[in-house]
């Protein structure tokens, strides 16, 4: 007998009285969702898309107008709630879960539970390193040390990616310095010099920040003076009036730290866990900008680093 898995079998309607699956035969009654429902769902989804964008823009507006910084969890919760509602609508109607066997919904729920476990327990670890012993804290060297980017093994670079050596700087800093050097060279070349002198460097820097502020401040991306703009070209280039978000230095020691962030270290951590990686030394009750340098040990107690404490 030859058989193929696609053999056509005529279903025998009165076979199988003990069918464990409990559905009879001949009922091809799959639910057909009405065109009107589909359209309504689409409109609701579009509405929620507009809503989530509007709320997010609204948050920006509130921050700029009332000079506050909203915590990030607000943004996350609003955005994720709306996204969840949208996802549920897609699952229930477009994907037909509402009219389908319960099993398929259960599968999806189990899947979501697994995802939640994954995110939850992983963040418990990453969010609480060093809660007891600083030994286990992730060392907050922003952007990394750059160590290893040029690591070689038996003289051969370890990656197919660009083989850069950042001499221990974070890659962002390395690229910035590269650009500054290049701009200084351009300035020098304008004046027929082969080596940039101090004036060239300054001019290059001004050029750099002009581009930066044009791109950011004017386009509303980041209405602040850049932390690395040490000579305050922000004001001298005439961008200061864009800064609608001046933070008063009073009463907000945590925000003081923001403006006092060193090139390698910033303290503004309004994430899910505020002050996640702060160690004691970062809380300077006197508003006197004190940022630890990169080499300062992070497990020092406040008493050791701050005599006023």
């Amino acid at each position: 007998m030859e058989h193929s898995i696609d053999d056509v079998h005529t279903p025998n309607p009165d076979f199988d009285p003990t069918d464990p699956h409990g559905h009879g035969h001949g009922h091809h009654g799959h639910h057909i969702i009405s065109a009107r429902t589909l359209m309504t769902i689409l409109l609701i989804l579009l509405f929620f898309t507009v809503l989530t964008v509007a709320l997010s823009r609204g948050e920006v507006w509130i921050q700029d107008t009332f000079h506050v910084i909203l915590p990030q969890w607000l943004n996350v919760i609003i955005a994720m709630s709306i996204a969840t509602v949208k996802a549920v609508l897609v699952c229930a109607y477009f994907m037909g879960l509402r009219f389908d066997k319960a099993l398929n919904s259960i599968i999806m729920l189990i899947c979501v539970a697994a995802v939640i476990c994954f995110l939850f327990f992983t963040s418990i670890d990453l969010g609480n390193r060093g809660a007891v012993s600083q030994l286990r804290a992730t060392v907050p060297t922003p952007g990394g040390t750059g160590y290893g980017l040029d690591r070689t093994y038996d003289g051969i670079s370890t990656a197919a990616s660009p083989r850069i050596s950042t001499s221990g700087q974070p890659i962002t800093e390395f690229r910035r310095n590269e650009k500054l050097a290049q701009l200084a060279m351009t300035e020098a070349a304008k004046h027929g010099r082969t080596e940039p002198n101090e004036a060239d460097v300054a001019a290059g820097e001004a050029e750099f920040w002009r581009y930066y502020y044009n791109d950011y401040v004017k386009k509303g991306k980041h209405p602040h003076r850049h932390e690395h703009d040490e000579q305050n070209l922000f004001e001298s280039l005439g961008f200061a009036h864009h800064d609608t978000n001046v933070i008063e230095p009073v009463d907000r020691p945590d925000l003081d730290a923001v403006s006092a962030s060193s090139p390698n270290f910033s303290y503004r951590r309004t994430g899910i866990t505020p002050h996640l990686l702060d160690d004691g030394s970062s809380h300077d009750a006197h508003g006197d900008a004190h940022a630890p340098s990169a080499n300062e040990s992070h497990d020092a107690t406040p008493a050791e680093t701050d005599p006023d404490h």
């Binding site: 193929s4 990030q72 994907m95 599968i107 962002t172």
Partner: protein, 234 residues
């Protein structure tokens, strides 16, 4: 011998309706009791497959969540480089495609092959539009400015030292999503070809339409979460 495909076109070739792939000529595999059971099994299989896709993306979302928690400024700064208008437009494009594909299933259930073809075509156009916007307005300009992942990062005006990491997550997340757009579009194209050529789908035979549609909705679902997470941070 158990053959892979029983639908040998040994029927007389007198137009689409006599083709074994024409929906009225389709049977069901011999190890199922009836066509209904086969349909349910296929759908269950697809849902299980979708859970694997969700968990695949869970890895990316997990990396996103961890680094956003650790480096909130980098995420804010990075997100400012993205234009919410393109992201929003793409969201709308995908939502519409999701709607047309759901309508496509409905057309198949009603036996309206012309509507099925129309809906699938619109869906595919949306898919192409999505990829086009992504590439032309987002990936290409950004990459040419050096806003690239990891060590490829060469943008000098970064605001936060962790921006390269943000771009890594951005490109991996949207890139793998885009890959799924391609796979989904491929599936739908296959369905479309069979619908055009053989009128392969109708009220009693639309398993492929349904399962490919489910896959396409997943692409939409993932984007529903990616969009606010990537574009709407401030």
């Amino acid at each position: 011998m158990a053959t892979i495909d029983a639908n040998k076109p040994d029927l007389p070739a007198a137009g689409a309706k006599s083709h074994p792939l024409y929906w009225k000529n389709r049977g069901f595999a011999h190890h199922f009791r009836n066509a209904d059971e086969q349909f349910d099994a296929c759908k269950l299989g697809m849902w299980l497959f979708l859970t694997t896709e969700v968990l695949l993306f869970a890895g990316i979302f997990c990396a996103y969540a961890i680094f956003r928690m650790l480096y909130p400024e980098a995420w804010t700064a990075g997100s400012h480089h993205l234009d919410w208008r393109f992201g929003g437009l793409n969201t709308i494009v995908l939502l519409i495609s999701s709607w047309t594909v759901a309508s496509g299933v409905r057309s198949a259930q009603l036996g309206n092959n012309a509507a099925l073809i129309r809906n699938l075509l619109i869906t595919l156009v949306c898919a192409a539009l999505f990829v086009f916007i992504k590439l032309y307005f987002e990936y290409i300009p950004k990459l040419s400015m050096g806003k690239a992942p990891g060590t490829f990062f060469s943008y000098p005006y970064a605001h936060d030292p962790h921006e390269p990491l943000w771009w890594s997550v951005y490109y991996i997340g949207t890139g793998i999503h885009a890959l799924h757009v391609f796979i989904g579009a491929g599936l739908l194209t296959w369905v479309l070809v069979r619908a055009i050529k053989y009128e392969a789908y109708g009220p009693t035979e639309y398993t492929m339409v349904e399962t490919s549609a489910l896959y396409w909705h997943l692409v939409d679902l993932v984007w529903i979460f990616l969009f606010p997470l990537l574009y709407l941070i401030h």
